[in-house]
């Protein structure tokens, strides 16, 4: 069964896929000569939503679900994975806000910091789970 956090991450990734592809389609219409006013500022957001929001997040969501677990079906330090989910999405939303409002470096830096913290938390959580599956008949 897919755990709750994976469902959250994959759902959020799908939402970013939708908005990222929609922005990309509008940009392509712009290149085609059908310029939608002010669409060009979405170029950076199109990349952010798809590379970080979609690809990175769906990868982390599936990894949290499917990587080997420990005895008793445990995912140790699961709070780090939850922290990664919240920090990553807060970082993307803050980046979106900064781009749309053309905010300054401090907010933009905070957005990058949040995304960095998210990836660090995800890496610390997943690292011990990168191990061989143990079959039921194998001794510990």
């Amino acid at each position: 069964m897919m755990p709750l956090l994976s469902r959250w991450m994959i759902s959020a990734a799908c939402l970013y896929l939708f908005v990222g592809f929609s922005a990309g389609a509008l940009l392509l219409c712009g290149y085609g000569g059908y310029v939608v006013t002010d669409i060009w500022r979405f170029s950076a957001l199109h990349q952010e939503w798809l590379l970080v929001g979609w690809m990175t997040q769906i990868t982390l969501g599936v990894a949290y679900w499917i990587f080997p677990r420990f005895e008793g079906n445990q995912r140790p330090y699961a709070f780090l994975a939850y922290l990664a989910f919240f920090a990553l999405n807060l970082g993307i939303l803050l980046s979106t806000f900064c781009t749309l409002t053309q905010s300054g470096l401090l907010l933009r830096g905070t957005a990058h910091l949040l995304k960095g913290i998210a990836l660090l938390c995800a890496a610390i959580h997943l690292w011990p789970r990168i191990k061989a599956f143990r079959l039921a008949h194998e001794s510990p």
Partner: protein
Amino acid sequence: MPPFTRYSIKLALLYFAAFFLGEIANALMGLSMLPPIPLFSRTLLHLFFVGGVTQMIFGVAVWLFPVSSRETPRGAPWLQIATLVLLNGGLLLRLITEPMRLQGGGLLWGRFLVLSAALQWLGMCAFLILIWPRIHAKPKKKE
């Protein structure tokens, strides 16, 4: 491995190969070792990220995610076909039309580019309709 997954992963590998061949061609053109062909980095990047990475994710998701119903465990077959046809049709149309348009081609090429955007967007929507119920599928109680 279901047919959708097999097709999408094979196509993704072809797009990866096409991206790297395109990049090699771009490098050789830079060294004047190849006659100029209109290959734009942005078009090639989309072959990599949309045709390669995203399509590989689509294929693995359809294979791996929990099944939502007994009748169509991996979603409606027509949605799977629509995803593959629309996404790849749109991407291949972009591969042809974007260089023509950016080299000063007329508005007709622009219209084809808009059509390419619409096809890819619809392909993405078909995938989301296919996969969304499977993300939220409730586990069935054992009888």
